[in-house]
């Protein structure tokens, strides 16, 4: 199994650290993804100030390692790193950095894309949107079962 580096931290993320963690002499390409807090303005809640990320940390790591194992099965991954920030992430700053090294670039892009897409579906991390006039959990804005059901 190739190297996998995972971290959750309230410190600002350093993409150079994720890149260094996956750099290998056998690599021909490193694909990196940064997800950043996008500044936007809600019609009634006002401008977004920051996103606030919370995790179920033990499971977030376990689930992310499972996704990494799937990626390593599908593509010739030499090493990968996923660093997710928790707590407040201001507009313009990254909440996640994913770096994947492979011998050839197409695989690096595919595996990196797979990891961010799957992470967003299953890894237990939640964001709370802090607007100027109010805050709300992203999960609050989805459909709910009828009360009493």
């Amino acid at each position: 199994m190739p190297d996998f580096h995972f971290s959750l931290s309230t410190d600002p993320l350093d993409p150079a650290r994720a890149i260094a963690a996956v750099t290998r002499p056998e690599a021909g390409g490193i694909a990196v993804f940064l997800g950043t807090t996008r500044g936007e303005t809600h019609p009634t809640l006002g401008p977004l100030l920051h996103l606030d990320y919370h995790a179920y940390p033990e499971m977030a790591e376990k689930e992310t390692r499972r996704l990494f194992a799937q990626a390593a099965d599908r593509w010739p991954v030499l090493a990968a790193a996923i660093h997710h920030r928790l707590g407040a992430v201001p507009v313009g700053e990254p909440s996640i950095v994913i770096a994947v090294a492979t011998p050839h670039r197409a695989d690096a892009f595919a595996a990196c894309r797979f990891l961010i897409d799957e992470l967003k579906k299953t890894v237990p991390i939640w964001k709370r949107e802090h607007y100027q006039h109010s805050a709300r959990w992203q999960a609050e804005t989805t459909d709910h079962v009828a009360p009493g059901k």
Binding site: G35, A55, M59, S95, I96, L119, W126, K127, A139, T142
Partner: protein
């Protein structure tokens, strides 16, 4: 039997508001070998009015498990509303 139940995101906030500051991570008495599929109804009785997103998933001991799983004493069950990391 006793299991641990953990809530997250807005569900954690509501659980605390409904049942006290530790209600998002507490031990609960449930029938022996309760199928995982039956836990949501039981929790909605214990926490009346708790918001429950339609695509909420259940994890046991940090792993998504099928609804047919039969709970065991000491299991840690996480109620996972739609995730939004990344």
């Amino acid at each position: 039997m006793i299991v641990r139940v953990r809530f997250f995101a807005h569900m954690a906030q509501h659980a605390r508001n409904l049942a006290g500051p530790h209600a998002d991570n507490s031990q609960i008495d449930v029938p022996d070998a309760l199928p995982l599929a039956d836990l949501p109804d039981l929790l909605q009785q214990r926490f009346p009015g708790l918001p429950w997103p339609t695509s909420t998933l259940l994890a046991v001991n940090q792993e998504y498990l099928p609804p047919t799983y039969l709970l065991r004493p000491g299991d840690e069950i996480a109620i996972i509303p739609p995730v939004s990391g990344g």
